[in-house]
């Protein structure tokens, strides 16, 4: 992998990042799957709205990514329509598209595609990993460990470099690409003047290898013990916690990364400033609590059409 092909000196600027962690089964009280998916649409919309703030969301290319939205989303075309309708009701846009095949690395493929193929300047990436059916077998994985569910939204300004890459996206590699991933991360961190690198949350033994190879001082804390593996959101949770703890006073370039189970990677330099807005909330999956978070977000970020949500609560 040729790291020098990255757009030199110009990383995507992260203006806002939000992660909403869902601690228990998502809207288990909803009897129908399609209703639960509609509520998820509203939940994603509110998260997207939280990073859009006062910005006109229509000025942004919005892409939805997921690793773990259950395959049951796809057992009926009505389900995907319900998801998009919920998002549209909540924030007035449909996502440009929905990426699922890239697993946890999807957000990097989305950014790279938008910059190189659509000349995009403003992008919002939503990462949604919610267990829609509350199956015990989805809560842990023998290699990855415990799962953590939630959604993230990221608002970027993208540099003008169509001829160069803004993110390293690479694969497939054997054995989940762990070795190749760490080598790319290590080479990238060595080459740049990045201050911090945020890796996926890993099993303890794998995390120790990663820290030893990349350099523990440059790697964000591994929060697998507390949060589990949160799919494509790990790096962003790490970044949020780091922003909160470090109170930066000048612009910094950090590196966000993700690795897909099947051996595809994303390694992406990201510019953050003291103005980068960040938010991390933990919510139970109870409908009442989900509605409350959506409503409190609405009061902070202006009106949105909640009539569909009210109908759902009735």
């Amino acid at each position: 992998m040729n790291v020098s092909s990255l757009c030199v000196g110009e990383a995507p600027s992260l203006h806002a990042v939000t992660h909403w962690r869902v601690e228990s089964a998502f809207a288990a009280e909803c009897e129908s799957l399609v209703e639960r998916i509609g509520l998820l649409g509203h939940f994603i919309a509110a998260c997207v709205q939280s990073v859009a703030g006062e910005e006109d969301i229509h000025e942004y290319d919005v892409i939805l990514c997921s690793t773990y939205l259950s395959q049951y989303l796809f057992v009926d075309e009505k389900n995907y329509e319900a998801l998009c309708a919920g998002i549209f009701d909540g924030c007035g846009i449909r996502p440009l598209t929905f990426l699922h095949a890239y697993e946890c690395a999807g957000w990097g493929y989305a950014l790279q595609f938008l910059a190189s193929q659509a000349a995009s300047k403003r992008a919002i990436i939503a990462i949604a990993d919610i267990d829609l059916v509350n199956f015990e077998c989805f809560r842990t994985h023998p290699l990855i460990g415990r799962s953590g569910f939630g959604i993230s939204a990221l608002r970027f300004e993208l540099p003008d470099c169509q001829s160069q890459d803004i993110a390293i996206t690479d694969g497939p590699y054997p054995e989940s690409g762990f070795r190749e991933f760490l080598h790319v991360v290590r080479d990238h961190v060595k080459q740049g003047d990045d201050t911090m690198c945020f890796l996926p949350y890993l099993r303890e033994d794998l995390s120790a290898i990663a820290r030893r190879l990349v350099g523990a001082q440059s790697v964000g804390e591994d929060r697998a013990a507390q949060y589990g593996h949160c799919f494509g959101s790990d790096a962003w949770i790490g970044l949020i916690e780091w922003l909160e703890a470090s109170n930066i006073r000048e612009a910094k370039t950090v590196t966000a990364t993700s690795l897909a189970y099947n051996g595809y990677m994303t390694v992406c330099p990201v510019s953050v400033t003291p103005e980068t807005a960040f938010e991390f909330q933990i919510v139970s999956g109870k409908i009442e609590d989900l509605h409350q978070l959506i409503a409190s977000n609405q009061s902070r970020h202006g009106a949105m059409d909640t009539s569909a949500l009210e109908r759902m609560s009735a």
């Binding site: 009926d76 598209t97 699922h100 095949a101 595609f113 509350n134 497939p172």
Partner: protein, 206 residues
């Protein structure tokens, strides 16, 4: 139904481009497996369901299927890879490929060809076309499919490939008449591409 020889395709495409649209779309369905008689590695797994709730959810999503062909996830990737290779070989102005894939098959790794930088694997490839056209991009190929694979799947074994500008049509016709996967389809039609959201030409999906 249309014959997949180049002369018939050119005649049909000329009519579509003149009267309806700048691009063309080819539809077909997989009625016979291109892999018939070839043993392949089975990757079908079952979820370790335990509770009453889990069994109830799983049985709710069960649907009877009448489609005559079921392939493996790896075979689906192989068909898509062949389609993209044929497009690359025959479409000189090919610029970007939007390919429908609904989700990860965690048991099977995507091939490098599907992870290429000019390929986007997405649920709804057509939804991206207007945005890319606005950015001035031509030579966009969309590959829509709902090939039914070994798992909970509602696929109806339909495949559609389309280009969205007139300049891409001659190369597109060469591509579809050269692709082994496209040639293996039945009930083939050439129509104007539908830029609706999600599945193209929804009325076909009844």
């Amino acid at each position: 139904m249309i014959s997949l020889d180049l002369a018939s395709l050119e005649k049909a495409a000329a009519q579509i481009v003149q009267t309806k649209s700048a691009g063309v779309c080819l539809w077909g369905s997989l009625e016979e497996s291109p892999f018939a008689g070839t043993p392949y590695k089975g990757i079908l797994t079952t979820l370790p369901l335990r509770s009453v709730h889990e069994f109830a959810v799983a049985s709710d999503v069960e649907k009877a299927s009448t489609v005559p062909v079921r392939i493996s996830a790896a075979q689906r990737y192989a068909l898509l890879t062949e389609i993209l290779a044929a497009a690359r070989a025959n479409m000189p102005n090919l610029s970007v490929m939007l390919v429908r894939l609904c989700g990860p098959d965690f048991q099977v790794q995507l091939p490098a060809e599907l992870l290429a930088k000019d390929v986007l694997l997405t649920y709804d490839p057509y939804a991206m076309v207007p945005r890319l056209s606005r950015a001035g991009r031509k030579g966009i190929l969309t590959v829509w499919q709902d090939l039914r694979v070994d798992r909970v799947d509602i696929g109806m074994n339909r495949v559609s490939v389309a280009v969205h500008d007139a300049d891409s049509v001659p190369g597109f016709l060469k591509f579809v008449s050269a692709s082994r996967t496209i040639l293996s389809l039945s009930n083939v039609e050439l129509v104007a591409p539908d830029h609706g959201v999600g599945a193209p030409a929804k009325e076909r999906r009844q």
